[in-house]
């Protein structure tokens, strides 16, 4: 159960990529040290014996909730799109996801 607590600068760079955050070299240096410190404290619980303990993801016993399938007004499209950084033809506009723009 014990994890390797040595969060490295490479680990920080890796999770920054996963989390889609560009970090500068300075930020990477600083966050790697700070995160390693936090992880070392968090790892205090890694040594606890939790054999047979059920995990708790949520304080309430949740079950799926559905509402009646009836049409009702939704948010106004123009009001929603007015908050978007870029809009085209009544839709959100984004840079190309794959390859060259058409």
């Amino acid at each position: 159960m014990a994890a390797d607590h040595g969060l490295t600068r490479d680990d920080a760079a890796y999770v920054a990529r996963l989390a889609r955050i560009d970090l500068t070299d300075d930020e990477l240096d600083r966050y790697a040290v700070q995160l390693a410190g936090v992880i070392a404290h968090a790892a205090e619980i890694a040594a606890l014996d939790t054999e047979g303990v059920e995990p708790t993801a949520h304080p309430l016993p949740l079950r799926n909730v559905t509402r009646a399938d009836e049409p009702r007004p939704s948010l106004d499209r123009a009001e929603v799109l007015a908050q978007a950084p870029a809009v085209e033809d009544g839709r959100f506009s984004v840079p190309p996801i794959l390859g060259e723009a058409p």
């Binding site: 992880i39 304080p59 309430l60």
Partner: protein
């Protein structure tokens, strides 16, 4: 609504009502108008908020308009509600339609939600008036309100010190007389900790009793909205107004939320109170002394007070600082520069996402996203997130065992009083330690309240915490009312509205 008629009315709480309830009574009686009240508080904000910076926006026009509507109801003989004409300061992570909601983050600067949070609707339906949006640690991540993109908020008892956080703006608004009541959100102590450091009452409800619809998500299994007030009575009244099932939040409890105002008067005779060793060990001497004095006062009022040890609570902080960042890293993935908020242009969508998030998030939010992403990543998931979830179960079971023996538990709210601005910004774990006494209630989903109880040698406020099991709000308020009535008088803050 019963219990608001003042002393002598049937079922009225005997504790002091507090400024919010004084206003509601006067407005309903027609002796003061809602508009005069709003003008008075706008003046107070004008007077002192330049120094304290509790607000990120002040809503002059809409507040006057809402006040006019309340006054029209009074004039027309209609009941404007139990919070008639009461200005309320709302933490800026709760949506207000057409009014900027920033979470004190550059990434949402200028965003105007197309809908109101359920709590905002319920407060307005009860006659309250939203007077402004308050500063917070960015996305509610922090314990000092120093992590705001829009500047720090200062403690009115000593402007060189932090107000706590993340609901620091809401705590300061109430403490300095800029709003008679405020809403905050509490994920690991973000209502109770600033309440303690600013000398006001702060309450986190049972998970699922107050709708999270329109609360910008930080850690969804922990977040709850609750009131910051001057008195325990006001806290109970606001909880009764904002609580209750909401079809727009599928994690709301289906059971009815217990009403609390009627419990305030019942005293503590025969109640079993456990003073939790783990919630007083290692705290400052002044804070520990206040908890001991509060426990003695409860015993004097007829409670059976005993010390109890719940060793599992020591694992609360490390478990919390895995669970909360893990949930945050998922929740904050929505800030991608596509549908709202900031966008930094780039050639591809992925580069645009990463540049936008780099520019839009501050250092603490980046740290928590990285930490959460790490804890959830392949190879580390079981060791960190999986283990933290199991520790959460251990804490819930240990508290359940304690509540077999006790009706409520008592401890410190915070290990220290307000610390100096800048003292902990470069040491995340030192900052996180501020939450050590408050995170267990979030992990368990239980209610807890911080009540001001005197001050330390420097005149800084101390909070005593009362914890109860799920849906134990009535007994929690019952005990809190006695703690409040026995508390030493706290000197008014150095900076306060005239």
């Amino acid at each position: 609504m019963t219990g608001l008629g003042g002393p002598g009315a049937p079922g009225a709480p005997s504790g002091r009502p507090g400024p919010a309830l004084d206003i509601a009574r006067a407005v309903r009686a027609g002796s003061v108008s809602a508009l005069e009240t709003v003008e008075r508080y706008l003046g107070a904000i004008e007077e002192v908020d330049g120094e304290l910076h509790a607000f990120v926006s002040v809503l002059h026009e809409s507040a006057r308009r809402e006040a006019g509507a309340v006054d029209a109801k009074v004039a027309g003989g209609d009941d404007p509600g139990p919070l008639a004409g009461v200005p309320v300061a709302v933490k800026d992570n709760m949506c207000t339609r057409g009014i900027p909601t920033t979470c004190s983050s550059r990434i949402l600067e200028g965003w105007c939600p197309p809908y109101d949070a359920t709590v905002v609707q319920r407060l307005r339906a009860a006659g309250a008036i939203v007077i402004g949006k308050t500063n917070l640690d960015e996305f509610a991540m922090g314990s000092s309100t120093e992590n705001s993109a829009f500047g720090v908020t200062r403690n009115p008892h000593d402007p060189g010190r932090v107000p706590g956080g993340s609901s620091g703006g809401s705590a300061v608004a109430v403490a300095a007389g800029m709003a008679p009541l405020a809403l905050g959100s509490d994920t690991g102590g973000s209502i109770r900790q600033p309440a303690a450091l600013c000398g006001v009452v702060g309450m986190k409800p049972t998970y699922g009793t107050v709708s999270r619809y329109g609360l910008v998500a930080f850690a969804s299994s922990l977040d709850q909205i609750g009131p910051l007030t001057t008195t325990v009575t006001e806290s109970a009244v606001v909880f009764d107004v904002i609580g209750g099932q909401d079809p727009l939040d599928s994690t709301c409890l289906e059971r009815p939320v217990p009403r609390t105002v009627t419990a305030l008067d019942e005293g503590v005779e025969g109640l079993r109170v456990g003073v939790v060793r783990e919630l007083v060990e290692g705290v400052d001497a002044g804070v520990g002394g206040a908890v001991a004095a509060a426990a003695e006062a409860l015993a004097g009022a007829g409670a059976n007070v005993e010390e109890v040890s719940v060793p599992e609570l020591r694992h609360g902080l490390p478990a919390y600082y895995i669970v909360a960042p893990a949930e945050a890293s998922s929740n904050l993935s929505r800030y991608d520069g596509v549908r709202y908020g900031l966008r930094v242009e780039a050639d591809t969508a992925e580069a645009m996402n990463a540049a936008t998030r780099a520019a839009g998030f501050g250092p603490e939010v980046k740290r928590r996203i990285l930490l959460g992403t790490y804890a959830l990543s392949a190879g580390y998931y079981e060791a960190y997130y999986g283990q933290a979830q199991k520790v959460r179960t251990l804490i819930i079971d240990a508290l359940a065992a304690a509540y077999q023996r006790f009706d409520v538990l008592v401890g410190a709210t915070t290990p220290t009083t307000a610390f100096a601005i800048g003292a902990k910004v470069d040491d995340p774990w030192a900052m996180y330690l501020s939450d050590v006494c408050t995170v267990p209630s979030n992990l368990a989903g239980h209610p807890a309240i911080s009540i001001p109880f005197g001050s330390d040698g420097s005149g800084l406020p101390i909070g005593v915490q009362v914890l109860a099991p799920a849906l134990g709000e009535p007994v929690m308020f019952q005990v809190a009312a006695v703690v409040e009535s026995e508390a030493p008088v706290l000197a008014p803050p150095r900076v306060h509205a005239p």
